[in-house]
Every structure is written in C-alpha cells, then in structure tokens.
Symmetry: C2
Subunit: 246 residues, 2 copies
Amino acid sequence: MLRPSAHKDPEGAEEEVKHGHAASRAYAAIREGLLRDTWASGTRLLEADLAARIGVSRTPVRDALRRLVNEGFLEYSANIGCRVRGWSEDEIASLFDLRLELESYAARRAAERIDAAGIAELNTLCDQMEAIATEALDAPNLRDDLTAPNDAFHMRVIEAAANPLLAPMIASVTAAPVVLRTFRRYDADEIARSMNHHREIAAALAAGNGEWAAAVMRSHIHAGYVAMRRGGTGDAARGPNGPHGR
Amino acid sequence: MLRPSAHKDPEGAEEEVKHGHAASRAYAAIREGLLRDTWASGTRLLEADLAARIGVSRTPVRDALRRLVNEGFLEYSANIGCRVRGWSEDEIASLFDLRLELESYAARRAAERIDAAGIAELNTLCDQMEAIATEALDAPNLRDDLTAPNDAFHMRVIEAAANPLLAPMIASVTAAPVVLRTFRRYDADEIARSMNHHREIAAALAAGNGEWAAAVMRSHIHAGYVAMRRGGTGDAARGPNGPHGR
DNA sequence: CGGGGCCATATTGTACACAATCCAGACAAA
DNA sequence: TTTGTCTGGATTGTGTACAATATGGCCCCG
C-alpha cells in the first residue's frame, strides 16, 4: 500500500507557493506543520496565531483553514474554529477499506487502458524503489525516500484508469497524516513484499488483466494496513469529543 | 439509481441557515440558484454581485463560493474567480462509474450490518415511494416528490454500511446538479423498475446477502445512467475551456 | 486590413477594524 | 459541596478599504 505525500493540492491554486499569494503560503505552511505532527490531535489552531507566525493577515489563513477542513486535516465548529483532526481505529479502518475499493477499481480500469509507455514508466519507478529499498535495509531513515516514487507509481495507475473524478477522491483518503510516512513502519520483509507487489501490478497491467491487477492492489493495501496497525496509529486519541466527534 | 437533493451539507455548519450566519445564508442562496439552473455552465459568478443580491458582504460570499468549489458545483481560478461547472459526457460517465463502485460497496457492507429496524425503515420508504409513483403515473410533475424518500433510502443503506468516511464521499458524486432531479427523466416502466430495485435491495439486505444486494444496487445505478443519457445531460456544454477546462 | 502591445476598468486578494459569540473562572445560593 | 449565574477576556464572524491582478478595448504598427 503506502501512499504518502499526496500529489498536488486537489483544488485550485496550482502549487503557487511563490512569494505573493498569501493564501497559498498559509496553506502550505499549515499543511507542512500538520504533516510534521507539529500539533497533537485536538489542538486548536488559532487564526491570529497562525497569521502572525506565517506573516499574513487572518483572511488568507481562514481560506487555508477552510481548505484543510475540506481535505480532512482539520475539523471545524462554528464560532470555535479549527482543531487538528484525530483518527480513531474505526476511522482508519474505514479509510483503508475505501482505498481498497478505489485503488483496486483504478487498477482494474487501468489494465484496459494503459499503454506501453505507461507500463515502462511503472517499471522505471519500480527500479528506483528497489534501488532505494536495497540501501534502506541498513539505513532505516532512508525509507522516507521511497514515498516519492511509490506515490508516483500509484498516481500513474490512477491516471491510467482515466476517470477524472477518481484522483481527488483517492487523495481524500490518502492525504491524511495517518497514512503518510507509512514506509517507516515497514520491516525488511514488508518492504520486499511491497516491491514485489509493484512489479506484479505492472505485470498484470501489461497483460491487460484487470482482475489480476485489482487483486494484487488489494493485497498491497491490505499489507499496508496490517503494518500500520502493528505499528500503532501514532494518533489514536482524539479531542474531547471521542473518536467520532464533529 | 437516483439520488437527488443531497443530504446535509457535507462539512461543518450544521444546517444553520437562520437569520444570523451570513456565510450560511450565502451558501444556501447560491446553492439554491445552482440547483435551479439559474446560471448556465461556464457563467462567471461575481462576488460583489452575489453579495449585493444576498445582502451580505463579500467575505461570507467568498466562504460560500470556496465551499461550493470543494463540493464540485463551481470551478475556481486564481484571480479570476468562480464559474459554474459544466459536466462533459466523459465526466458524467466517470461520476456514475464511481457511484457504481461506492454504492454497491455500501450495499455489500450493509448486508452484514443492518438490523431489523433498518430493514423496516427501508420497506416503509418503499411503501411511500410506491404510493407516490402510482399517482405520478398520470401527473409527471409529481415525480420530484420521489426524490426525498429515494434519497432517504440510499442514505439508510449508506449509514448501515457503517463506514464514516463513505457518506461524504458518495455525496461528492451525487450532489452534482446533473445527477439531481433524475426522476423527471424516467418513464413509467423505468419508475416501476426502480421501485422493484428498492424492494429487492431491501430483500437482499434482509437475507444478509451482500453480493446480491451489491448486484441489485449496480443494476439500479446502471438503469439510472441509461435514463440520464437518453434524456441528455441538459448540460453537456462547458465554458470556453472545453469539457475538462480548469 | 490584420496583429501585437498598452492602458483603463473590473474583479479578485489582502489587510484591518469592529461586532457577535463562546469559554473559563469567580462568585453566590442552595 | 454542588450547582447556577454572571462577567471578563479571548476568538471567530463580518464589513469595508485598499492593493494586486486579469480582462477587454484601443491604438499603433506592419
């Protein structure tokens, strides 16, 4: 499974984190903090605080917060503001369950649509991942480098599925901080298995066999879920509202 | 299929369209206009215009617009603003394809989890729909009354699936104006078939047979897609950017 | 007569000030 | 001790002014 560092931000603002565009800067800064686990779940994010820290006014900060709420990073209550969202065991299970459906669907469709160039790209990404994985056996801190090519691999499969609504939908269940940085939890065997899964997915797609591709993708995601559960969520607790608070 | 008048708004603001809360009023007003097809696809929505018409300032209007962008009603470009989103044939097909996956998944899971009370509710809703359908045979304009119980039926199934992330995800592919008000396109036979589907889904769930329930749900949505295609999308054209413009 | 660059205008983006609302703690009464 | 109320401070919600940017028409040039 795996599926870290989500691709571009799903909505507008095409990666314009330049100097101008206070809203984009605010969004990037807050998202960065969320991905770094700067704040514990349930922590209240104060607009004025963030605005001062980032160096913009409250208005673009509000825009950024609303966006992060819609992406599932934060939860919002009227007149109270935003809190860092936590994920209960149940919700994490639900999240992986949906990934199971959506990514296997993507693989099934991709098998009927991907072309030779796409297959080649997937295998190139496999080469990269395997090279990194070999080094990472000794240096566990290198494992985060796997996330970029792994993410690219999954993204290529999703693109090949040729369903324009699918990518943002999958992003909504993979952008969660809980899912990110999953490679760290993998042991050597699990990394090897993950690499094999990628190769097998590429093979199934090359063979044009959608059911095969979907089945391997399901295995891939199941394996990731097990690894995540074993390692603990790192974030099971919630705010005062309990696991499903809103 | 069908699935009109999406339930509550997916995110925060629990239906507070009261007198206060300018942002909620703005959201409700604009959404209402979108559902009424007040503006053609590609129409640019001006913040100042809307603010004046609704009687609030631009700030809450901006909030409302951002929200509608995230819900797929509008598309947004930096420094340009919001346009009414159109749906190409491809996108509508993609949309139904995802509903096929998600709602059949919901039905499959619901079969293992729904209780007797839930089944009873579903059958009650079937009763209601059949009563309305009988009258609507002569008065086609009554068909819109089917949308509320139909929506409730689907919602009950989704709730029974007990995946807290599923409902907002399905909402994102059913809130689109293209999908709403689908019953109008149905002829008498199609309405009858739809009613039969509902009864059969309830039976499959009562039998605890997830595969059966999922299969009927797929049939149900396929049928809806065919009816929609036959009737035309009512909104195939797009703005100047072509069908996938952004 | 057609095409490219420039400027006026319209519209969005940002900042800030004020109003509305909520929360924590103190205090009083049972 | 417990509960209810009230008040002060803090935080979000809204309105408005101004800055930044894009669009469309005009003029100039080829």
